[in-house]
């Protein structure tokens, strides 16, 4: 067990999934308050055809090019969702559902084709569906690290702007913050986080990395900054623990373990969380009931 951990490749992979978890946890908070959690799901599925097309074009599995392909395809998905929503009477969630299914179907179709061409089945493209962090090589890890750090920096330097943008868009626009600019930047960092994550976590489960840490963090705090920091830590821990478990067995997919770890932290938060967690809510209910009963007893002169 420790052998695997001491293996330098494993250490690199562990580092990159941790940073990925941190980035996803942070962006997840933005998505949460933009009330656009389904968007991350739609966009991660929409990335799949781009990955396969990029592979078919360059003929080798180079993460850098695959990520560019994934990003282009996810952006096309985002634009289509926006276009469908603004030009037709179809609502945004229906549009997201459509794009998610159609792009994923297209991706699987292309993947089948890619697997039939000579050498294609050896490419490990399948790992983009469930994620295979162990399959990453040093250059993949470096690509991931750089992009994830960039995304984290964008959120922290513009923290005040993000807060204003998420809380009160009209006021933000009134005092001169470009809403179109912020929307574009948001889509760019969301897509970046998704595409760097799909190698390690896979297109199906990537959305959980964005959603789960944020909703868990919500149970612990009333401050936006703390929520982001907590969500980042939850994401980071899920990334590390999930990768570590999957590295212990051979050929275990990373994505599911990361997501199950994140889900475990969510359950703990749901029950123990100090902000409207189930336990706290229950205790408060009991206390208030006791108080109310005493008050009734006092008013009725001790006759109950």
């Amino acid at each position: 067990m420790w052998d695997t951990l001491l293996n330098s490749n494993t250490q690199w992979v562990l580092l990159s999934t941790t940073i990925l978890g941190v980035a996803a946890g942070i962006i997840g908070c933005l998505a949460y308050w933009k009330r656009q959690n389904l968007m991350s799901d739609a966009l991660s599925h929409a990335a799949l055809p781009g990955v396969v097309i990029a592979f078919l074009l360059i003929g080798e599995k180079n993460l850098f090019f695959l990520v560019i392909g994934a990003a282009i395809s996810a952006f096309v998905g985002a634009l289509l969702i926006q276009w469908i929503t603004t030009t037709s009477r179809i609502s945004e969630d229906s549009a997201m559902g459509m794009i998610l299914a159609v792009f994923y179907g297209l991706g699987i179709m292309l993947l089948t084709i890619a697997n039939r061409i000579p050498g294609g089945d050896q490419s490990g493209l399948d790992s983009f569906i469930y994620g295979q962090a162990a399959a990453m090589v040093t250059s993949d890890v470096l690509t991931m690290l750089t992009l994830a750090l960039l995304v984290i920096l964008v959120v922290f330097f513009g923290f005040k702007e993000w807060k204003l943008f998420l809380f009160d868009r009209q006021f933000a626009k009134g005092i001169g913050l470009s809403i179109n600019g912020m929307n574009t930047l948001y889509t760019v960092i969301l897509v970046t986080t998704i595409v760097i994550g799909i190698q390690a976590v896979g297109v199906i489960l990537m959305a959980a990395m964005l959603i789960m840490p944020a909703v868990s963090a919500r149970y612990w705090t009333r401050s936006f900054l703390t929520m982001i920091l907590l969500s980042a830590s939850f994401g980071g821990v899920s990334g590390a623990v999930g990768t570590w478990i999957s590295a212990m067995g051979s050929g275990l997919p990373t994505g599911p373990f990361i997501v199950v770890t994140a889900a475990g932290m969510f359950v703990v938060s749901l029950i123990l969380g100090k902000e409207k967690g189930l336990l706290v809510t229950y205790i408060q209910f009991r206390m208030h009931r006791k108080k109310a009963k005493t008050r009734v007893r006092v008013r009725t002169g001790g006759v109950t």
């Binding site: 807060k163 809380f167 009160d168 009134g174 005092i175 009333r222 401050s223 936006f224 703390t226």
Partner: protein, 254 residues
Amino acid sequence: MSEPVIQVDHLSAFYQKNTVLYDVTFDVAPGSLTGIIGPNGAGKSTLIKTMLHLHPILTGNVSFFGQPFHKVKKRIGYVPQRGSVDWDFPTDALDVVTMGLYGKIGWLKRPSKTHRAQAMSALEKMGMKDYANRQISQLSGGQQQRVFLARALVQEADIYFMDEPLAGVDAGTERAIMEILKELKSAGKTVMVVHHDLQTVEHYFDHVLLLNRTVLHYGKTEETFTKENIADAYGGNMRWMGGEQKDVGHSIKQ
């Protein structure tokens, strides 16, 4: 009369299929406190939003201090409807008020202690000092409205637009808000307020703009806020709402 600070020239705007505003033209004198009055769907909020470029202009022109909006943005404060934001957002009252200073602080820079102090004194002015660190979701409707107003105050703008600041607030908050509006007016600021309560119009505003998809009447309250003019704006509504007509007549006579 002094130069108008706001000039609206043949403005029109639309929502989906409908033109909600057409040919809106008026000039606003500096230091005036105007109530924008009209029935539901008359385009009161849309008028404000269109003037502030928050809603696209179909035709026409708006200028402030003789300049286009984008050049004088910082001199204009806006208090949106309370329901326009998500009050569940994890932040406190002081933080929301500090947002009013973001334009002055500059983008990508962090608010300093002085900024926090400024925000605090605005909260104090609105009688909300004790609630500075209160989570915004735990404030009552009236308190939320006061926070919004405090945020507008710290902007130290010259023109203020407020969208129904008195909607759904208790008497105490209404008094506090009107106190501040009068203070702004005596400090020479120009204020335009979307208002829905006809009973209080004469009491609160020195100018009235009667709107129903276009400007029907605009001018000093005592000259403009007449029974005939109100009937013009509320039209059909008034006829079948016989009870309200009586009320309105009463409040005008007194």
